[in-house]
């Protein structure tokens, strides 16, 4: 009996049979709430059983039985379940996290662009630090890869942000876990630095070679949870005699990055520059690398000045609403904007 294949306790198996679930397929096609009520278990246990069932029923596709997934495919239901457990990396600015739905998402490629001095590198460094926030504090406890193409990465700034992050964490633990001594923060700024793998590339060939190498690197360092490229544009804006070559190279690179994000469940953040585009006689500000590049990322965030305040605007996203939020760059890193008129604007 297929139910026998499920790694669950005998009593649960008995309940499944009693409720009429005789095949894996019948479990896989039901909903969590139905399953939970039918066999009288909690919803989370029902979800577990469901996951086992769907995973195992996908294995019997070759027999031609009523399977509804093709090789390597997944049902949307499975994806929804997976997404529930998918994680995001905070930016340390609550307003920004809000419009991002929690933070920068893993398994996605996010592009962040803006004028010089708006804070792109600052956000990059903040994310490289925040990805290391331990699970106890709501973080991912992962490591970061930082690819620097412009030389904007200053170690002293990373130390500053790392120290501020540790201070914030100990304040948090002081507030919420006053009685629990085990929550003492054991992190040291040096350990934060150790967990950022820094690469400096000086030409576009080095950049492409490095992206190709990342697959091997991440396989050997499974705890990397974010890859930041600062900036992805710089080396590609020089003279390319063959623009078609440039488009091809960029396309291949972005495909590799998307695969990395999906296969290893990590976040890829690409920082981009702005340029002016000649449109109908006037010049408009737009992200560099052209129109075809705008398809290379899942989400696109544009940073801009609104008076004296820095704002972030979600330009493109399959799941997030178009909105903008203010943020500020402080000596401790990216934080909420201090202005009194701080409101999230829905566009």
């Amino acid at each position: 009996m297929e139910i026998g294949m499920l790694p669950i306790s005998a009593s649960k198996r008995g309940k499944l049979l009693a409720a009429g679930y005789t095949t894996l397929h019948s479990i896989a096609t039901t909903s969590i709430t139905h399953l939970a009520t039918d066999i009288e278990v909690s919803e989370s246990e029902a979800l577990e059983i469901l996951n086992f069932a769907t995973r195992n029923s996908a294995l019997e596709r070759s027999s031609g039985s009523n399977t509804n997934v093709i090789q390597g495919g997944q049902t949307a239901w499975d994806m929804l379940n997976e997404e529930r457990f998918s994680s995001s990396i905070t930016t340390s600015c609550a307003d920004l996290d809000n419009i991002l739905g929690g933070g920068i998402n893993c398994k996605e490629v996010t592009e962040i662009g803006g004028v010089p001095g708006i804070g792109k590198t600052q956000i990059g460094i903040q994310l490289a630090v925040n990805v290391q926030i331990p699970l106890d504090y709501g973080g991912l406890g992962g490591k970061a890869i930082y690819i620097d193409t412009e030389g904007s990465f200053m170690v002293e700034r990373v130390l500053q942000i790392a120290e501020a992050c540790i201070e914030d964490m100990s304040e948090y633990s002081h507030h919420f876990h006053k009685d629990n001594q085990a929550y003492g923060v054991k992190m040291h700024p040096n350990s934060i630095l150790e967990n950022i793998f820094y690469f400096r590339v000086c030409s576009y060939t080095e950049q492409i070679a490095l992206v190709n190498y990342l697959d091997k690197f991440v396989t050997e360092h499974k705890d990397v949870k974010i890859i930041i490229i600062d900036s992805v544009t710089f080396h590609f804006r020089q003279d390319f005699e063959d623009m078609a070559l440039r488009t091809r190279l960029l396309g291949e690179m972005s495909l590799k990055l998307m695969k990395l994000a999906k296969n290893f469940s990590l976040a890829v953040v690409m920082l981009n520059q702005v340029t002016t585009k000649h449109v109908e006689g006037s010049f408009q500000l737009t992200l560099a690398l052209g129109d075809s590049w705008s398809h290379s990322c899942t989400n696109r965030i544009i940073l801009y000045w609104n008076g004296d305040e820095r704002h972030a605007y979600i330009d493109k996203s399959p799941s997030l609403k178009s909105a903008s939020a203010p943020y500020s760059v402080t000596s401790r890193g990216i934080r909420n904007s201090t202005s009194s008129s701080k409101r999230i604007k829905m566009v």
């Binding site: 004028v115 070679a209 002016t276």
Partner: protein, 283 residues
């Protein structure tokens, strides 16, 4: 070509080397001085002190690290003729008198500064491989080259590029070529690279994009913006704006940080005397 990831901890030991600009007050706002391995732009109108600060930098670079220098020689690329050799001599005497025993070499500080004039942007691009050879040659000498100054980058581009799309694109890709080449050299040889730039008048009614900590930059009582546009702004890591305001014979000068990846907004007053360029403590 694989690269081993440099864990940042190793980098911390190298620390971000900085070169003093010759004045502790200005150094303080820069958190130690001009950093290596990046391009710092000094922008200002003519007479604001750009060349002065560069001359002072190439002299201070010869000091040992204990005094804020890099024990290094410099390569000074100038595009506006003539090169102010007399002023450089005057400043070198001032350096020798204030640091009599600190210089590593006993020869004249002027022998540690290599000058090269160039006339066009393409000329500069062609020069980059020669610069690399020069750096390699000097690497084994007593005071290797640690500073490159380009004074000014704007002069290379102002005349021969028109305003049509094609020219602007061509100009823009030259920016990235030059900046990419300089950054690569800076990274591999641990150089301080300082590039000076001019300003253009800001025209009311034109759409302007704000870049950096200040919503507007003013000098001599009028609003200005750095030349060469956003494209060039994308090519530098840090930008310092020098302003000057003259009323009668009194000149007030300010040095402001427009953007830098490691520094907060700051502004400090400075003066230029025969001994050099010095910050003024806030009253």
């Amino acid at each position: 070509m694989k690269r081993e990831a440099q864990n940042l901890l190793q980098k911390v030991d190298e620390k971000s080397e900085k070169c003093t600009v010759g004045c502790p007050i200005l150094d303080r706002n820069l958190n130690g001085g001009i950093p290596t391995k990046s391009i710092t732009e000094v922008v200002g109108e003519s007479g604001s002190g750009k060349t002065q600060i560069c001359l002072q930098l190439v002299l201070s670079a010869q000091l040992p690290p204990s005094h804020g220098g890099l024990n290094g020689s410099s390569l000074y690329i100038y595009t506006e003729y003539p090169f102010p050799i007399r002023r450089l001599k005057q400043l070198s005497l001032s350096l020798l008198s204030s640091h009599p025993n600190h210089l590593l070499s006993s020869s004249d500080p002027l022998s540690r500064i290599i000058l090269r004039g160039i006339s066009s942007a393409e000329n500069f691009v062609e020069l980059l491989p020669d610069i690399e050879l020069c750096l390699r040659y000097w690497k084994s000498r007593l005071l290797p080259i640690r500073v490159i100054v380009v004074d000014s980058i704007a002069a290379l581009f102002r005349s021969e590029f028109g305003n049509c799309c094609f020219d602007l694109k061509r100009r823009s890709s030259l920016f990235f070529k030059i900046s990419g080449g300089l950054k690569s050299l800076a990274e591999r040889f641990g150089l301080v690279v300082v590039v000076t730039n001019q300003v253009v008048d800001f025209i009311e009614g034109n759409e302007s994009v704000r870049i950096g900590n200040f919503s507007e930059l003013c000098s001599s009582g009028r609003r200005v913006c750095p030349a060469l546009g956003i494209s060039w702004a994308n090519c530098v890591n840090s930008r310092i704006f020098l302003s000057k305001d003259q009323t009668g014979i009194k000149i007030t000068r300010f040095s402001s940080l427009v953007f830098a990846p490691h520094l907060p907004l700051s502004s400090s007053q400075f003066v230029i005397t025969e001994k050099g360029l010095f910050g003024v403590e806030n009253v």
